[in-house]
């Protein structure tokens, strides 16, 4: 299982999303590899990913992908992340 946390430049928000996604996955007792990526590298990073986590603002930049794109409104809300990951992966 591979999950990509996506942000514009790959250093700020994607790292926060990665940390909190890992915490949500731990709650769900799901094993997954979470990778932080930026728009420039998403094609490669998400080639074999099941899920892309990102902000609604960045969805148009992702382009075609086989992964499920999950929009996260509040990157710090573990309840939102847990619920959305559970829906996507359950």
């Amino acid at each position: 299982m591979k999950i990509v946390a996506l942000c514009g430049v790959g250093i700020g928000t994607s790292a926060i999303l990665k940390v909190n996604a890992e915490r949500a996955l731990e709650r769900l007792d799901i094993e997954a590899d979470v990778t932080a990526a930026d728009i420039a590298s998403v094609k490669l990073a998400a080639a074999d990913a099941q899920v892309i986590l990102t902000s609604s603002e960045l969805v148009p930049s992702i382009g075609k992908t086989n992964a499920d794109v999950i929009i996260i409104d509040n990157f710090f809300d573990l309840d939102e992340l847990t619920a959305k990951l559970e829906t996507a992966l359950g």
Binding site: V9, T13, I16, V19, N20, A36, T54, S56, N74
Partner: protein, 160 residues
């Protein structure tokens, strides 16, 4: 791993700004004032939002302004700006914004060390309204759980 140092001059409380550009500009000015960044970094933070949109508004009321590492980042740093009146960044869910964090890192790796700590602080949903309501820079710093940098005069903190 702890958050980067947050000198009091990296904090600006209760600013009046007309729009998101000025808000990001204030976060950039605070980074520059505290010695973390040089000229140009602020414009690069604005450029990230121009290019990718308001995704930096990562929680209700909170923007994390940042740009890639570069020669204009002198040392890793954090700044905090709170606004007297919130401004819109154009985010569909999390506008309006009244707390802006400015972030500067020298390498991607370095950043990841303290991002977990940042997440710890902000996983508590009450922190953003508390920061927005903080009366002064010392209160902001104590809400974030950051101690004064070495060598900073304790009396400065009390009087600010």
């Amino acid at each position: 791993m702890s958050l980067p140092p947050l000198p009091l001059d990296a904090i600006d409380v209760g600013l009046h700004v007309p729009d998101w550009r000025a808000a990001v500009g204030a976060a950039g000015a605070a980074l520059e004032r505290s010695g973390s960044t040089g000229p140009g970094y602020t414009e690069r933070m604005v450029g990230v939002i121009e290019e990718f949109g308001a995704y930096v508004v990562i929680a209700p009321g909170l923007a994390l302004a940042h740009a890639r590492p570069g020669p204009d980042v002198l040392t890793e740093g954090l700044s905090v700006v709170t606004l007297a009146e919130p401004v819109a960044f154009g985010h569909p869910h999390n506008d309006p914004v009244n707390v802006i964090l400015g972030l500067a890192v020298t390498t991607g790796d370095e950043h990841v060390h303290f991002v977990a700590e940042l997440a710890n602080v902000f996983n508590d949903a009450s922190i953003i309204p508390a920061l927005a309501a903080a009366p002064d820079a010392a209160s902001v710093r104590s809400l974030l759980g950051i101690t004064a940098p070495n060598g900073e005069d304790a009396s400065t903190e009390e009087s600010s």
